[in-house]
Subunit: 157 residues, 2 copies
């Protein structure tokens, strides 16, 4: 059990300019999290933490998210082995977003099998022609079927 305490949000100055950790959780009790690879800077994924997940991340030094689809704590890598070791945790100006800088065991973060979840780009389209996604990663790092077996795909339509 973590007994880390978050401070009450009292003033804009406290939130923006002080050393007090006073995070803001949204109406669902969640705070968005951006996770980047410590060495490459690449954005690996974007997820959410609730209060408990945030405290566990801080005390454990490994990324713990809140899974909105499963509605439960999600210690990333428990199933796949792709644990995210925290190198640095940052919080933004108004303390409603967290940035995790991590090393990923195995080098992949995406349930589809790619290194980053952001394996496709959207070309700038000044002529408003037809937008076609481009694959920026050519090969999967792992085979999701081997790693996850019959676990349901978390993607919702």
């Amino acid at each position: 059990m973590s007994n880390i305490e978050f401070k009450k949000r009292k003033s804009i100055e406290q939130v923006e300019e002080s050393t007090e950790l006073a995070p803001k959780f949204d109406e669902n009790g969640l705070i968005p999290v951006v996770t980047t690879d410590f060495s490459s800077g690449e954005v690996l994924m974007q997820g959410y933490m609730n209060e408990n997940a945030f405290k566990q991340t801080i005390s454990l030094g490994e990324a713990v998210y809140f899974s909105r689809s499963r509605k439960s704590l999600w210690h990333k890598g428990k199933t796949s082995g792709l644990v995210q070791k925290i190198r640095e945790i940052r919080i933004d100006d108004d303390q409603d977003c967290v940035w995790l800088r991590v090393d990923v065991k195995g080098g992949a973060s995406c349930h589809v099998g790619y290194r980053s979840c952001f394996y496709r780009s959207i070309p700038i389209d000044r002529d408003n022609s037809k937008v076609v996604l481009q694959f920026e990663e050519k090969e999967k790092v792992f085979d999701p079927k081997e790693v996850y077996g019959d676990t349901p795909n978390p993607t919702k339509l």
Copy 2:
């Protein structure tokens, strides 16, 4: 007016493995956006786009967000001059998050005056002692009073 079209979401395979842009907006019509500095990889900010903001970003090649506090389109830099020129747009596996890689005119992105909104870190705390934020940026890049004048601070408690 942009006439870029988003595709209807039909299947997990279409969303994850195809070249069709079929983004998912949440119950408020928004999609989260992570914005990083193209050269340093640093996370500058996290924001949101609605459908219109996303289409304008794609066709303009500059970051256009939706401001939740002002409830309106927000062409970043229109007030401050700190326009974000898009170098690359990425979308994640289930197409419910956007990653913008940008060059920032003026080198700063944060309304508090720092280069990145994420100017403070949270130390890993295995002993569950008192968490104290650390400033990772020592100096502000600009004086927010000079740039924004009397514009209300967007931070909400």
